[in-house]
């Protein structure tokens, strides 16, 4: 067995192990399901209530993806603008750090005030929470491009656009994808916060209602759905990243492909 397979097996065993310990701990110490339901109970709830849960999951996924797409597009554009020159980078960075250090939860009420409760504030929250990591990484990726690589194109009398397309952007891809994996999980945080505060649909709203009814297994079922969606998106972006930026990791399968 290769080292990689052993590692995969070990991490699968760890995941299963955590759930088994959780299940056993609940049984041995007689923990009430109102405090901490057993994993088996949560899975049962998931299966039983799936028709009712599905629309909420779809709503959350939809909101997150729209917000994430907007956030990433805006992030790439702003990042390109800031990263295109050292001056812009140094001038804009303090403002950017200021913006990104605002807790995004605090702006949800403002969005609700402007756009009313529902899908729009959720999308916007998901967007602004995901935009900053993308901006910062994109700008850093572009700004740290080796001048030697740009010189190769400059001696060929390449235009600024040529240099950006052939050197800047490919060079920034590993930075961009590193930020996408962070941004996509943050995007879920944004959506769920907004749904919890002001919405009548989505997993966040469902969990809020379930907890006010003391339906703790249902609350945990919501958590499981969120975790599942988050993992799925993370895996998708990791797969794209491996294909696009394999050169940065020097993966042998990339070279052969």
């Amino acid at each position: 067995m290769t080292r990689l397979n052993r590692e995969k097996l070990a991490s699968a065993a760890l995941i299963v192990g955590v759930f088994v310990v959780w299940e056993l701990a609940c049984l041995v110490f007689g923990i009430s399901e109102f405090v901490l339901p057993r994993p088996s109970q949560i899975v049962m709830v998931l299966i039983d209530r799936w028709p009712a849960l599905m629309p909420h999951a779809v709503q959350t996924l939809y909101t997150t993806l729209v917000g994430f797409a907007l956030g990433v597009s805006a992030g790439i554009l702003i990042g390109m603008l800031i990263g295109s020159s050292r001056l812009a980078y140094n001038v804009a960075f303090p403002l950017l750090v200021g913006f990104s250090s605002i807790p995004k939860v605090a702006v949800v009420p403002i969005f609700v005030l402007w756009f009313g409760a529902g899908t729009v504030p959720a999308i916007l929250t998901s967007m602004i929470i995901s935009v900053f990591p993308v901006v910062v990484n994109m700008a850093t990726g572009l700004a740290t491009t080796e001048p030697e690589l740009e010189d190769v194109l400059r001696t060929l009398k390449a235009t600024k656009r040529d240099i950006l397309l052939n050197v800047g952007l490919p060079r920034a891809m590993p930075y961009l994808f590193a930020s996408l994996k962070v941004a996509v999980t943050l995007s879920f945080v944004g959506t769920v916060i907004s749904e919890t505060v002001a919405s009548n649909r989505g997993i966040g709203n469902m969990m809020l209602i379930a907890s006010s009814n003391f339906n703790v297994p249902l609350v945990f079922a919501g958590l499981f759905i969120l975790a599942g969606l988050g993992i799925a998106l993370y895996v998708i972006f990791s797969a794209i990243e491996r294909r696009v930026t394999g050169w940065a990791n020097r993966k042998t399968e990339f070279a052969m492909g």
Binding site: E146, L149, V152, L153, W247
Partner: protein, 298 residues
């Protein structure tokens, strides 16, 4: 029975006089002037802390000429290349290429740097093809020819420098010397009429280096681009160049402008001729003096 054609040594008591290098007519750089540096000074930084890299350099290079720049480390040889390649602006003075201020001229430049500077996300073949994607007139046909004619062109050039079958590899899968050869291919693929070579063979072993001298010479004889070669290797400069420009230690000034008259095509055997040794020895002495003039450590 045939007689042994080998000449019998020691019969002639007086050794033949050392053959003087056969002088091919040095091109008149005034009639077909291609590059001209006019009282160029370059300093890095400002105020009292400024370092002068070049001081009042004037240099004229004819079209199709092969010039080698030699001198102690840090004497501004690479700076001259950067000036001509429009990667750097002169602090004062003028640089003209093909009759116009540098940057405005319509000249295809091929440049190879000290480091291979291959783009890590492109395969070796795509790296070599990069100039075809950027430079006219190749650029106009990029979409149509990149999978056919251009690709073959890149493969043919790679084969010439001994990198056949390496086109699909990525730069990090190649040794430093192989990367350097690929980078040389990239400098040549678009038929440049001006070649700027910044110690392109510095990281190679002796034999590969000599092999590449031969390839570069053939290429120069075939297409006659104007070549500016920066090198630390005096044998290399004497083997390849028509003129060797010796520079002083920083701030760089031109000490000697030495014509090299050996007949073309030169071979490695040329480098063992007495005239060749005399020339490299003379250059070496000059550079050693230039180094000690500023008290540089040996």
């Amino acid at each position: 029975m045939t007689t042994n054609p080998r000449p019998v040594a020691r019969i002639v008591p007086v050794p033949e006089p050392v053959p003087m290098p056969e002088h091919i007519p040095v091109q008149d750089t005034r009639t077909n002037l291609f590059i001209e540096l006019e009282n160029v000074t370059v300093s890095y930084g400002k105020g009292p802390n400024a370092t002068k890299a070049l001081e009042d350099i004037s240099l004229q290079i004819g079209e199709g000429d092969f010039i080698a720049l030699v001198g102690p480390s840090g004497c501004g040889k690479s700076t001259i290349l950067k000036l001509v390649g429009d990667l750097l602006k002169a602090s004062s003075g003028h640089v003209f290429v093909a009759g116009r201020e540098v940057g405005a001229q319509d000249v295809r430049i091929g440049m190879a740097f000290q480091n291979p500077t291959l783009l890590p996300w492109l395969s070796i073949r795509d790296n070599v093809m990069l100039p075809l994607k950027i430079v006219q007139p190749f650029r106009a046909h990029w979409a149509a020819k990149r999978k056919g004619e251009y690709r073959d062109r890149a493969e043919a050039l790679l084969a010439k420098v001994g990198l056949k079958d390496f086109g699909s590899k990525y730069p990090w899968q190649l040794s430093g010397g192989m990367q350097q050869r690929a980078s040389l291919c990239r400098a040549l693929i678009h038929d440049p009429n001006l070649l700027l070579l910044d110690e392109p063979f510095g990281a190679l072993d002796q034999f590969t280096r000599e092999e590449l001298w031969g390839i570069l010479q053939t290429l120069w004889i075939d297409t006659k681009p104007t070549v500016l070669l920066v090198t630390h290797d005096l044998r290399e400069s004497a083997y390849l160049a028509n003129r060797i420009v010796v520079m002083s230690a920083r701030p760089g000034r031109i000490l000697v402008d030495e014509p090299v008259g050996f007949a073309r095509p030169r071979s490695i055997d040329t480098t063992f001729e007495p005239g060749f040794t005399t020339l490299t020895h003379k250059l070496r002495t000059l550079i050693v003096e230039a180094r000690s003039a500023v008290g540089a450590a040996p």
